[in-house]
């Protein structure tokens, strides 16, 4: 997809969505798992459904696969209503969280299973299995049984099996949840490569926000059965729609502000924490004295022992705690009113040389365009 550097079909109104989830509701008895949810996903997207456990993301995925019946609404795939089609007739494959490898079959037989159901000629099956084994680099393991594989190998067999039928849409339920951190990061890149190489649309469910940020074209943040925000990882991170999203994705300092109007610098908010006016460049439609919040990511807070020359957006405090992370350090700064803010500083010089240590009086400053004003 090298010619398509700016991959954003959702901004192009001439593009037709590949999956259309239209006003879908799912109830389990009294409990509403999905509440009137509408979502369009485009071809070749790597779409993540992200949310805390119990938010309905897995239920939505299972409805796409056909394992859960939709209570209201419908799901279209390439313009065709698939709501009533049973799972074994849908041109969609899924990779399960537990991998669900058939324990009584070898790796090879597991991968061939789906192809055999389509009654393909055996030489074609062999060829495709071979291709898949190469893709996931497990050619030497073709004759192993699932219980002779490591976690990472099982994960790749599960992936190969779900890709063998060349589905147009692949659903992945927490695909990397069972892997350790290093392997997970490596596998994330493999997943992205495979997705680009095979031009498959991926819909992935995860509760790991870092994973979602790394792999996705877009993220749908879910909470109690509905989508809170659907946007690119950068938009979600830089311009979250509300406090919950800001808080769920990455670390953030959320401060309260009272709206005082606009001036040439931008939006003026009175902050109780700094006991002064702070500025944000973002325009907000609000009336004077409205209560709102502004969110600043820790890495966007400048921390220094020297008072900054200009006096915009400054908070004063003392260093309460330092978490040394090697490439960066996280400082917990206690404001005079007792609130603790987090600031991250890249360790560009060795720590010995910048002399920031416990109980130091420091200034925190941020640029007006770095803060996000949140109305709710």
């Amino acid at each position: 997809m090298s010619e398509n550097i700016q991959f954003s079909p959702w901004l192009d109104s001439s593009q037709k969505p590949y999956i259309q989830i239209q006003n879908v509701t799912k109830r389990f008895g009294e409990f509403t798992a999905i509440d009137n949810l509408t979502l369009d996903i485009y071809k070749n997207e790597f779409f993540s459904l992200l949310g805390p456990s119990g938010c309905g993301k897995t239920t939505l995925l299972r409805m796409l696969a056909g394992f859960e019946k939709i209570t209201h609404g419908k799901i279209l795939l390439d313009g065709e209503d698939i709501s009533e089609i049973p799972p074994h007739l849908r041109p969609i494959n899924m990779m399960f969280q537990s991998y669900a490898l058939f324990p009584h079959m070898t790796v090879e037989k597991n991968i061939a299973f789906g192809l055999k159901q389509d009654n393909l000629p055996s030489n074609e099956i062999d060829q495709r299995v071979e291709e898949m084994l190469e893709l996931v680099e497990l050619t030497d393991f073709a004759n192993r049984k699932p219980n002779q594989l490591s976690g990472g190998q099982s994960q790749r067999v599960a992936l190969a099996r779900s890709l063998a039928k060349r589905p147009k849409l692949l659903l992945l339920d927490e695909p990397l949840g069972a892997l350790d951190k290093r392997l997970r990061e490596q596998t994330q890149f493999e997943l992205m490569d495979i997705q680009e190489k095979l031009e498959v649309t991926f819909v992935i469910v995860t509760h790991d926000q870092e994973e979602a940020m790394t792999v996705s074209s877009r993220i749908g943040v879910m909470d109690s059965g509905n989508l809170v925000q659907v946007a690119t990882p950068a938009e979600i991170y830089e311009a979250p729609i509300n406090k919950d999203v800001a808080d769920f994705i990455g670390d953030v300092n959320i401060l309260k502000g009272i709206y005082k109007g606009q001036n040439k610098v931008g939006t003026q908010l009175f902050s109780e924490d700094s006991n002064s006016i702070v500025y944000a460049t973002q325009d907000v439609g609000a009336s004077v004295e409205d209560e709102m919040w502004f969110a600043i990511r820790p890495e966007k807070l400048e921390i220094s022992k020297v008072a900054p020359s200009d006096d915009h957006n400054i908070l004063k405090g003392t260093i309460e705690d330092i978490a040394y992370g090697g490439s960066f350090s996280t400082y917990h700064v206690k404001l005079d009113n007792g609130r603790i803010l987090k600031a991250i500083r890249a360790n560009r010089e060795r720590t010995k040389e910048h002399h920031l240590t416990w109980d130091d009086e420091v200034y925190l400053q941020w640029a007006p365009h770095s803060a996000v004003v949140l109305l709710s």
Binding site: N93, F96, P103, S162, K165
Partner: protein, 267 residues
């Protein structure tokens, strides 16, 4: 692990003696030369040879094997279905009643089962014979299969079934290709269990059999009433052997399966 104390060893010996001395005596005396059952007259296998000449015992054995084979096979099919339903379909309406009704024959006195099936056959005017004994055996051995299959299904990962469906396999083929092979050890041990249960049943068979369908336990019982002969010891020894073999095989299969489950959970 705690060493065996002398009291523990004593209890063990007393307990096992209580259980097994009668059986061991029976086996020993089946190799007795003497016609008198309680007097040892030297080792011999002549009663086994005699047995082969006894048409009555041979007929009864043949009936028993036929009944056990057919009834355990059908009971396995029905019991497997029942076991699957109980784990697969969660909390459907009337689940408690259904499972209670499946387990009931395990605790119901055999006399009651025998009597009630007899009454039913009489009411329906069905001639008693091999057919009725087989039916009655299916009824009471089905629940054992259901229990074994259900306990296996409780550790079965449902996403295996879903994965097969997802890959385009029809629900029926999924059962044949995925579910059944995985639970097969449980199904086989269920079959062995019901086979042995049918083999050594006396009470229910006595109620439901008719002329020409005397089973081996019934035959032995009627022979004993005329006095114990070494021949009876011989046939009983064979029966003990077959049943022991069945039970041991069933438990070995069960143990292997448990180890496999543990192994897959660890990886």
């Amino acid at each position: 692990m705690k060493r065996f104390g002398s009291f523990n060893i004593f209890s063990l010996i007393v307990g096992f003696s209580f259980l097994y001395i009668p059986i061991i005596l029976l086996i020993l005396f089946s190799f007795n030369e003497s016609r008198l059952v309680t007097v040892w007259g030297g080792f011999s296998t002549k009663w086994y040879g005699e047995l082969m000449q006894n048409q009555g015992i041979k007929d009864a054995a043949w009936v028993t094997i036929k009944v056990a084979f057919v009834s355990s096979t059908i009971a396995t099919i029905l019991g497997t279905i029942a076991g699957l339903v109980m784990t697969r379909f969660g909390n459907f309406k009337g689940r408690t009643l259904f499972s209670g009704m499946i387990y009931a024959p395990m605790v119901m006195p055999e006399v009651i089962i025998g009597l009630s099936t007899l009454l039913m056959f009489v009411a329906l005017a069905i001639d008693r014979g091999i057919f009725t004994v087989t039916l009655a055996h299916i009824t009471f051995s089905m629940c054992y299969v259901a229990v074994v299959v259900q306990s296996r299904m409780s550790s079965y990962d449902d996403s295996l079934t879903e994965a097969a469906l997802d890959l385009g396999c029809t629900p029926f083929r999924t059962f044949i290709l995925i579910t059944l092979p995985i639970i097969l050890p449980a199904v086989i041990s269920g079959w062995l269990l019901s086979f042995t249960l049918s083999l050594d049943d006396l009470v229910i068979a006595s109620f439901t059999s008719g002329p020409g369908s005397t089973t081996l336990p019934m035959k032995i019982y009627s022979m004993v009433r005329l006095g114990v002969t070494p021949e009876i010891n011989a046939v009983s020894t064979i029966l003990v052997g077959v049943v022991t073999l069945g039970v041991i095989t069933a438990s070995l299969i069960g143990r292997r399966q448990k180890q496999q489950v543990l192994k897959t959970q660890h990886t």
